[in-house]
Symmetry: C2
Subunit: 364 residues, 2 copies
C-alpha cells in the first residue's frame, strides 16, 4: 500500500492522458478535485493487486458521456459517493476498494476523488489499460463480469439504478440514454467485483504505470530534453513519425468525436506522410496506403516538444506532433477481447490487427 | 369488492377509449391479455375507494411510450409482475392493490393483467380521469406524491430503477429516455402510495365509470340507436358537433403525435365548421375563431354511428364523427392542477380554461 503524493497526482494526470490515446476525457478538472481532497488532509492510498483480498468488493467508478461536454458541465462533487452508497444500499454490502474501468484520461483519476472522501483504497489496475468509447469494452465485461446492477447519478441528485440488463450492450445502451437525458455526462458505478476476479481480469499496474509515465515527462521537461525516447523505452513503444498536422476533419456522430488527421513528416521524417482515423480515441495509423497500427494497440499523439498528450478534442491544424505506437496488454489480444475491442468492433472492415511486439515476444 | 366479468372487460375497453380523448393508447391488445387471464381461471377484483385500507400500499402500473409503437411492439407478458417485484424488493414492502395512473386508453386496463396474475385487487380510481401525455400530469403527482423510486422494464428483461429524481419533471425526462432506448414502449410502476393518499388525490370511480360507458355503447349498438345522447347524459357532457373530417395534419414531434383536425358540420350541424388541435390527446375545440373547450376538460371524438372512440392515431379524412365535451374532475381544476395540465402546460398561450359546468355547478 502506497499513499500518493501531490506530485504523484500531477504525474498521474499526464500519464493517463498519454494512455488515453486521444480520448478518455480531459484529466485536468478531475486532477484539481483530487488535489483539493489532499489539501483538506485526505489521502489516496494505492493498493497493489497482490495486496488485494480475494473476497474484497471492488467497485469501478467513472464518468460516462461526451468528453467535450465534461469540460463545461462540471460535477457537483459528491456524485461518486452517491453512486457508491446507492449500490451499497441496493446490494446490502460494503465496498472495500475502488478501481477505474478505464485508466485513460480523466477516468484514471475519477475513483481517487471518492476514495479520498471515503478513505477507501484504489486498486493499481483497470479494465482497459487505455481508453475506449463504450462500456462493454472493458476486460471486466469481456471476461464475464456483468455490469448490472449499476448506478448512475448527476449533479442535481437524480440517481438511476440499472437493476438488470440482459447483456453488456443493453447496459451500454440504457446507461447512455440516461446520461444523454442528464445533459451528456454523469458519474456511474458498475456492479462490484470480487478481488479474485480483478486479479484475473484486470489490466495490472496501470495506475503506477501512468504515474511513472507522468514523472518521466515532467523530469524530461525540467531537463529540457525530449520525453519521447524514454516513453518509447518504458512502454516498449515505436516512434512512428514526427509530423505536422496538415489537415483535420472532425465531427460529432452519435455522441462520439469522429474524424481524420492528415500528417506530413518533419525533421527526420520530412517527405513522408501519414493519416490517423479516430472515434474519441485514435483507431488506425496508416502510411503509404497500409494500416501499420490499429486498435486495440495504442496510438499516442504527443506534442513533439513537451511530450504531453493531445486529445482528439484539442487537435488543431499546424500542431507539431510525435506519434507513438504502444502495445496493448495481452488481455486485450485474445479472440474474445478482439471481438469487442478489435478493428471490426469499430466498423473498420479493411483493418487487420497485427499486434505490436511486446517484451519477450516476436513481431507477428 | 366486485369481480369483473368478461363483458365488463369488453365494456371497460370501450369506456377507457372514450375517456382517452384520442390518446392513452389503444386498449385492444391489453383487453385481449386481460381476457386471456380470465380464460385461465384468474380474476380481476375491483375495490371501491371506501373499501381501501388507509395503510394499504397501492401501486400504479402502466405503459409508457408512444401509442403508435405499442400496437406493433407487443409486451412479453410479465412486465407488470417484474416491475412490481423489483419495487417490492427494493422497498422491502408488499404491494396490496394496483391502480391506473391514467384511466384513458389501454392504461385503464394495464393493471388488470398483473392484478389477475398475482390475485391483487384493482382500485376503482385513477390519477387523471382521462389521458394525458406526460407522467407528471397525474393528480397523484400534482397533490404531492413523489413518483420515485419507480421501475421500468421491457420485454427482453431489462429492469431500470429510478431511485431518486429531484422533481416529477426530471422523472418524466429520465424515464422517457429509458423507454425510448428500450424501443419506444415499456411498462412502468411508480412509488407506491398509501390508501389514505389515494382516497384524497385519486379521481374516484373511474373504472366503474368506464365500464358503465362501455355497456351503454354496447347496448345502444345492439338496439340500433345512437349512444351519443346517453353518453352526454351520463357524463354531463355537451354534444358539440356532428361533422365530417375535411382536413387532417398529423406528424410526430418529440415522440408525440401532434396535429390539427378540420371539421365540417353534417346533418343538424350542416353549414358550420370547427377545428381540433391535438398532442396525443385532443387539446382544444375551436369554432368561429373561438376556443370553446380546452384541456383539462375532455374533448371526445366518436364514430357518429357506433359511438366508439376514434384515437388520434386512426383519424382519417372523410370520417363522420360526433364531438363531445365532458367536464373533467374538480381535482384537475385547482390552480395547482391547472399549472400542470391546463392550456399553458401544453404551450397553448392563446387558450383560457373556462370549465364546463358540472352537475350542481353553474357555467363560468
Amino acid at each position: 500500500m502506497r499513499t500518493l503524493s501531490t506530485s504523484d497526482i500531477e504525474a498521474l494526470a499526464i500519464g493517463t492522458a498519454i494512455l488515453g490515446t486521444g480520448g478518455g476525457g480531459n484529466p485536468y478538472i478531475t486532477k484539481l478535485r483530487v488535489l483539493e481532497e489532499l489539501k483538506h488532509g485526505r489521502h489516496v492510498r494505492l493498493l497493489g493487486l497482490d495486496e488485494l483480498e480475494d473476497d474484497a468488493l471492488v467497485l469501478s467508478i467513472g464518468g460516462i458521456g461526451a468528453p467535450a461536454v465534461s469540460i463545461e458541465k462540471l460535477e457537483e462533487g459528491t456524485e461518486g459517493v452517491r453512486v457508491l452508497r446507492a449500490l451499497e444500499e441496493f446490494l446490502g454490502a460494503k465496498i472495500d476498494a475502488l478501481i477505474s474501468a478505464e485508466i485513460g484520461g480523466g477516468n484514471g483519476l475519477e475513483p481517487m476523488v471518492t476514495a479520498a472522501a471515503l478513505d477507501l483504497p484504489v486498486v493499481d489496475a483497470d479494465g482497459m489499460g487505455r481508453a475506449f468509447p463504450e462500456m462493454q469494452m472493458t476486460t471486466f465485461s469481456i471476461y464475464g463480469h456483468r455490469s448490472t446492477p449499476a448506478a448512475v447519478c448527476d449533479e442535481h441528485g437524480n440517481v438511476v439504478l440499472f437493476r438488470h440488463a440482459v447483456s453488456e450492450l443493453w447496459f451500454e445502451r440504457l446507461a447512455r440514454a440516461t446520461v444523454v437525458s442528464m445533459g451528456g455526462t454523469a458519474i456511474g458505478a458498475e456492479a462490484p467485483m470480487r478481488g479474485r476476479y480483478v486479479k484475473r481480469a484486470g489490466v495490472p499496474g496501470t495506475v503506477s504505470q501512468s504515474i511513472r509515465l507522468g514523472h518521466l515527462v515532467l523530469e524530461a521537461n525540467q531537463a529540457h530534453r525530449s520525453a519521447i525516447p524514454e516513453i518509447c523505452a518504458q512502454e516498449h513503444g515505436i516512434h512512428l513519425i514526427d509530423a505536422k498536422i496538415v489537415d483535420l476533419k472532425r465531427h460529432l456522430r452519435g455522441g462520439f468525436s469522429v474524424g481524420t488527421l492528415e500528417l506530413e513528416g518533419i525533421d527526420a521524417h520530412a517527405g513522408s506522410s501519414a493519416r490517423i482515423d479516430f472515434q474519441n480515441e485514435f483507431l488506425t495509423f496508416e502510411r503509404a496506403g497500409r494500416i501499420e497500427v490499429c486498435v486495440p494497440d495504442l496510438i499516442v499523439v504527443l506534442d513533439v516538444d513537451s511530450g504531453h498528450a493531445i486529445t482528439t478534442d484539442v487537435l488543431r491544424y499546424g500542431q507539431r506532433v510525435a506519434v507513438l505506437a504502444l502495445p496493448c496488454h495481452p488481455l486485450l489480444r485474445t479472440p474474445e477481447a478482439l471481438a469487442v475491442v478489435g478493428p471490426r468492433a469499430f466498423g473498420l472492415e479493411q483493418a487487420e490487427f497485427h499486434p505490436l511486439p511486446r517484451p519477450g515476444e516476436r513481431a507477428s
